[in-house]
């Protein structure tokens, strides 16, 4: 009844094209975005540099030797050595591992806490919504940096062993920044609920479980991915600021921010820049590339909003 000549021709042409899922078309757009592509390349290099790099360094098992402390960059130590004679290049690599890890874990805390609270507030609304949003308002009202630094100080008072301390730093950085994601998710869920396909689900009599996980969530994931990516970038910045002040990651665990705190001592700052410039450049490169990827993802998922 439905097929006639015209439809058949249309069909033949259409059959050749593969089904083009929104995810695949989004990633196609992402890879076409030059800046995002550059970001991905640089970020992968930073990951290789931090997680694989150390195994290539010849100074992996070098012991602390005051003899060759504070050497400027030379052919054995490409980036010189620090006051304990450790190879700065190796230290930067190992520090990268910590900084990246802190960034990713903190961002996942933001996504978990912010995402769930935002979804619950958006989906159930009314009382639950106002409680969560009131909580978010409170945290928004408190200035981030002072509280963060104060919490860092308290951490030192609680005398946590350095390696356990990283996880607490991740926790603090995450808990300070979940509010913006929760607001984003909440408004997205609210606007989705007005969409006609959600009303259709109501008419079709789908169960709540299906409505949330098959319809609401997949349409909220793009916003979460973008926010998570930018969250990693901000968390790395926050962690490095804390560590620079000596309140985040503390020796002996290395992190880029903590290495830069070497610049606090006037002599190192003035005439041993190889101690604090390389980790700074690493932070900058990592964060810039993540920001580019995040921005590229935002365009890829929602092409209507031109850059």
């Amino acid at each position: 009844m439905s097929h006639n000549i015209a439809d058949v021709q249309v069909e033949l042409k259409a059959k050749k094209i593969k089904p083009d899922s929104p995810w695949r078309s989004a990633f196609r757009r992402l890879f076409k975005n030059k800046m995002a592509l550059a970001g991905m390349i640089v970020l992968t290099l930073m990951f290789l540099f931090s997680f694989i790099g150390p195994y290539f360094s010849s100074h992996l098992d070098a012991k602390i030797s005051v003899r060759n402390a504070n050497l400027p960059p030379n052919e054995t130590h490409w980036l010189g050595t620090d006051k304990l004679g450790r190879d700065v290049l190796l230290r930067t690599m190992e520090a990268g591992r910590v900084s990246l890890l802190v960034g990713i874990v903190a961002a996942s805390i933001i996504v978990l806490v912010g995402g769930t609270l935002g979804a619950i507030a958006g989906y159930y609304g009314r009382f639950v919504d106002s409680v969560i949003m009131r909580l978010a308002d409170i945290l928004y009202a408190i200035p981030t940096l002072p509280i963060l630094v104060a919490l860092g100080a308290i951490l030192s008072d609680l005398k946590f062993p350095p390696d356990k301390r990283i996880y607490l730093v991740m926790f603090i950085v995450g808990m300070i920044a979940w509010m913006s994601l929760s607001r984003l998710v909440r408004s997205q869920v609210l606007s989705l609920k007005e969409q006609e396909f959600m009303l259709a689900n109501e008419v079709l009599g789908l169960r709540d479980r299906r409505k949330i996980f098959r319809h609401l969530l997949p349409n909220t994931v793009p916003i979460i991915i973008v926010a998570a990516t930018l969250g990693v970038a901000n968390s790395i910045l926050l962690e490095s600021t804390l560590s620079f002040l000596g309140l985040g990651v503390v020796p002996p665990t290395p992190s880029w921010g903590q290495m830069i705190s070497a610049a606090n001592n006037m002599i190192d700052f003035q005439n041993r820049p190889w101690l604090w410039v390389p980790p700074g450049v690493c932070i900058l490169l990592t964060v810039v590339s993540i920001n580019f990827i995040g921005d590229g993802l935002r365009d890829a998922f929602d092409p209507k909003q031109k850059r």
Binding site: N4, I5, A6, D7, Q9, V10, K32
Partner: protein, 327 residues
Amino acid sequence: MSSTLVEFRNLKTYFYTEAGVVQAVNDVSFSIRAGETVCIVGESGCGKSITAMSLMRLIASPPGKIVGGEILFEGRDLLKIKESEMRMIRGNEIAMIFQEPMTSLNPVLTVGDQIMEPLIEHTLLSKSEARKKAIQLIEQVGIPRADQIIDSYPHELSGGMRQRIMIAISLSCDPKLLIADEPTTALDVTIQAQILDLLRQLKKDRNMSLMLITHDLGVVAEMADYVVVMYAGKVIEEGPVKEIFKNPRHPYTKGLLLAKPVIGQRKERLFTIPGQVPNPIGLGENCHYSDRCEHAMDICRASQPALQKDGADSKVACWLYEGEGAK
């Protein structure tokens, strides 16, 4: 027969998108005589709005570009003149109103301010004279309490009232040609009747030409003196309104007329044109309607029919009539 006011000659306007080149307006030619209402009719994506925007040279480039042809306005080719000269014509000799009254007015400026702008730009009126003229215009478009309306903001007015304000703005400098791009599509039917009646009235009083763009054949029958039917970026048929409705030539025009339900002339089953409008990217050298046309012949799938005279004042682009074109 009054003189020709506007003449499109082989106009080509393309859009360069990531997916490819969209030939939105592909070799379009027709003319508008002074004091005449010409209706450009066609379904979405046929290029009727782009034709109007090309005439006003308001094509955003990138991504759009007028790649060929001429648009003669009183003998002057608008595509060749400088931007500053074009600006003197826009809103002054050629004015335009749009489809969405809700978003066509600036929400943070008063209605009066927006009516006075073209007056101050194009005429030598002072601010106070412009304001008086604005109040007059508001009354002419049938809005009561004009002196209060002039200081109100667009969000305080209904859709119908905003469209009347748009008409007041367009008429402020007594244009020779008014372009109306689907002016009543977003309005309710009783408000649409009011606006169409207003447009007819104003056209008569001011002996102005009207280029009305619409997809509604009812509006065409009511308003048009001359009709131009477009499909996939090309003009496929044109002619006086009675000729088009009484004796449509192109299969697509016939299909449109039969597919539309008409009050009082109920049929058991509507004629349907199968398939859908072709993808504007990568249109071949064939007649673009061939894969939906029931009379499609091999030649239709091979090459494009030219727009040929067929009868006193009508033209059609279809291989069915190719032979008799000479008449």
